[in-house]
Symmetry: C2
Subunit: 76 residues, 2 copies
């Protein structure tokens, strides 16, 4: 098995109401932050030979509105 | 400014109903995955000298139930 992390973000240019809300809250509290985006992360152990692209694109994300990247964490 | 990514996961040992649901759905579809955990990710641009620990621990996560790590993406 290997341990993977999938980072899922709203596509560039799409509205991100959660990110907007966090940005506004932080700015109201005096922090000069910009371009806040909120996404999801899924970590899981998968078999070595699994078709991770299929899992992610068919079952986990909505490719119309989300982009993703995969990080390999340590194997197990 | 620098671009940072905050990875927020449910603490080890805490129930993670979203992760459980994703794991069950993937196993029902024939994928032999294990230990699925679902968390959040926040990306933002912050000033160089900002107290990122304060922002994250006071405003973004709930330290009772969530752990986090910070990744530095490229500066801007």
């Amino acid at each position: 098995m290997r341990l993977v992390r999938i980072i899922i973000m709203p596509k560039e240019g799409l509205l991100d109401p959660q990110g907007r809300a966090v940005e506004e809250m932080l700015r109201d509290n005096g922090f000069n932050v910009k371009n806040v985006r909120v996404g999801k992360v899924v970590e899981m152990e998968v078999p070595e030979e699994v078709d991770l692209k299929l899992i992610v694109e068919k079952y986990i994300i909505n490719p119309l509105i989300e982009d993703y990247e995969i990080e390999e964490l340590q194997g197990k």
